[in-house]
């Protein structure tokens, strides 16, 4: 019994949860926008797709029940549910806005929906519009499930990853290098530490000079 007290905590519905355990689900929100070129009208200049996928190309339906994309209010029926992967939604429009991507978890996760924010990007930074080359913006994030329920934890750890259903946009997907990014930050921090040591040395010298000066002036 002492062992179970160490291992579990009780959730607010009395369910058993894994004490101190974190499950991480990498997710990625993205938009891919095509300029319509000659077919563009004033209010429909771009055809864009917002999507939610796993950065590793895994199928996420064992965690997610559905994904809701909340669009700008000017769209008809702005809350769009996508129940099955691939979690994609295609629309036409002319303006950039924040899309709310709501992840609804499966029932045994026993967590409320999680909102991710993604800015729809239609125009690339150079301001050029090429109908053949879409403007893609992908944002990496990680869903962390802190102290998950025991049932979900068991199911999640036993789950064998399956590939996500193919998407037409796969050719435009971007890649992420978390390790390279981490190394870059760490290198910057090492440089900072060196600068800091130099500054600290200067401070110590100043302190010594100050005290020597004070002693000299006082005597």
């Amino acid at each position: 019994m002492a062992d179970s007290a160490d291992k579990y905590v009780t959730g607010k519905d009395g369910e058993r949860r894994m004490k101190g355990v974190t499950l991480t689900v990498p997710v990625l929100t993205g938009t891919c926008a095509f300029f319509l070129g000659k077919k563009a009208s004033e209010y429909q200049s771009h055809k864009w797709t917002v999507y939610m996928r796993s950065p590793t190309g895994e199928d996420l339906s064992h965690v997610l029940k559905k994904v809701t994309f909340v669009l700008h209010e000017s769209f008809q029926n702005p809350r769009r549910d996508v129940e099955m992967p691939p979690y994609e939604l295609t629309e036409t429009g002319w303006g950039e806005f924040d899309i709310v991507v709501v992840l609804h978890f499966r029932d045994d996760v026993k967590e409320g929906p999680l909102e991710l924010y993604h800015r729809l990007k239609l125009y690339d930074d150079a301001g050029v519009s090429n109908p053949k080359k879409p403007v893609v913006l992908e944002m990496y994030d990680e869903v962390v499930l802190w102290q998950p329920t025991e049932t979900f934890y068991n199911r999640f750890t036993a789950h064998k990853p399956a590939p996500a259903p193919p998407s037409q946009l796969a050719q435009y997907y971007t890649t992420f290098q978390p390790d390279a990014e981490y190394q870059r930050i760490q290198r910057a921090r090492q440089r900072l530490a060196q600068i800091r040591a130099n500054v600290e040395n200067t401070a110590a010298q100043l302190e010594a000079a100050h005290e020597a000066g004070a002693g000299w002036a006082g005597s």
């Binding site: 990680e142 302190e207 100050h210």
Partner: protein, 419 residues
Amino acid sequence: MGDVKDILGVPRDGGLPAAPKSKKDTPKLVKPKGMSREAFALLSGSHPLMPSQLMGDIRKKEGVAGLKEKAKRDPRGVVTFQWRKFKNPARTDGLELEHWVKCFRDAQGRVSPADKGEYSFAKHNKKPPIMRYNDEEYKNLIKREPGWSRQETDYLLELCARFELRFPVIADRYEFPGAPERSIEDLKARYYGVARQLLVGREGGPESVANSTLVRHPFNPQHEQKRKRGLELLMQRSKEQDEAENEILQRAAQIEGKRKAEAAARRAAAGPAAGAAPGSQGATAAVVREVTEFTNEEVVGVPPLFDEEAQPKAPEKGATARGAAARELVDAVAAKQQGKAAKALEGALQEIKMEAFPRCPTRAVCGAYISLQHEVIELLELKRSVQAKQHLLAGMKRAKRDEDVDETPRSEKRQRLGK
């Protein structure tokens, strides 16, 4: 001669009145108010002065700076001072005295005082409320105190009313046959004790009058005596005593300073040639701090999020987006920096090309980036303090140099000045 006559305003041709035209040619020079005498003297015929009458109009229209407006006439009339009788309503004996009173004389020649009411200082005659008791109250409400008879308490209250609670005066005039020597504290303790008991007794309990000063701050004779004794001790210290103590304090400061200098010297000696070769790689490498590492691995018992100092922190909700949470935290920390510090942080991050939040916020990246921001802020703070110290030291050196320079050539300087 004609000029003199012009200036004096005497007509040139004997007693004959001058033609109006000639008057216009020689306008009377009147120094405008607000113009200095010297500036006025510089003006001559080539720079005719505007008649001051006209200036007034311009002043009003354009608000010429530096020229004061003429004082307005008081509609009440001209101020005069009159020697008049007055009565002080605070007095009961109806004594009449005389003094100068500010009055106005209006166009009809009537004189009326500026202050129409009664004697203006009468309002300052405030009487403090003195608590008095009747026979029954004395019997029921007042606690007997050894050494205080009813007669003496009556006498005390009488004096309190007469001298309006000025206890030094009361103690001075206090003369009750058969009573021991009463100090100010004794008198105060008795009076305020009686007053508090009366107040509480009349209300039936201390609750309803809990806010009254008498109840809230009961008089404490011991504290007052201690305070006066302390004050007396302080005032009685002789100049020699003060000087002796100051000297001891100075010596203590000197010893403290010497100790500090020695400690600093020891520290400089202990660090491998840090003082001797500033900036050399060997000296700095010794103190470079280790950069903490972060992993992507989730360890049981370690929460997945970070706080401002990149320490693990448990999320508020079971399901959280780590990247969004870290981004929010970084933004909040940046927003806390104010003014110059905020700009410095922004500039420093841009300098090391780290102003953008990482594209791929894994656990390790989040932790490292939050640490990075924290370390940049710390470094900037350190730099600021070092700069402040440098300024201080430079100022001290300058002061010292001035002192040294000043000592010898003072007499020379004086000679130079004399020449």
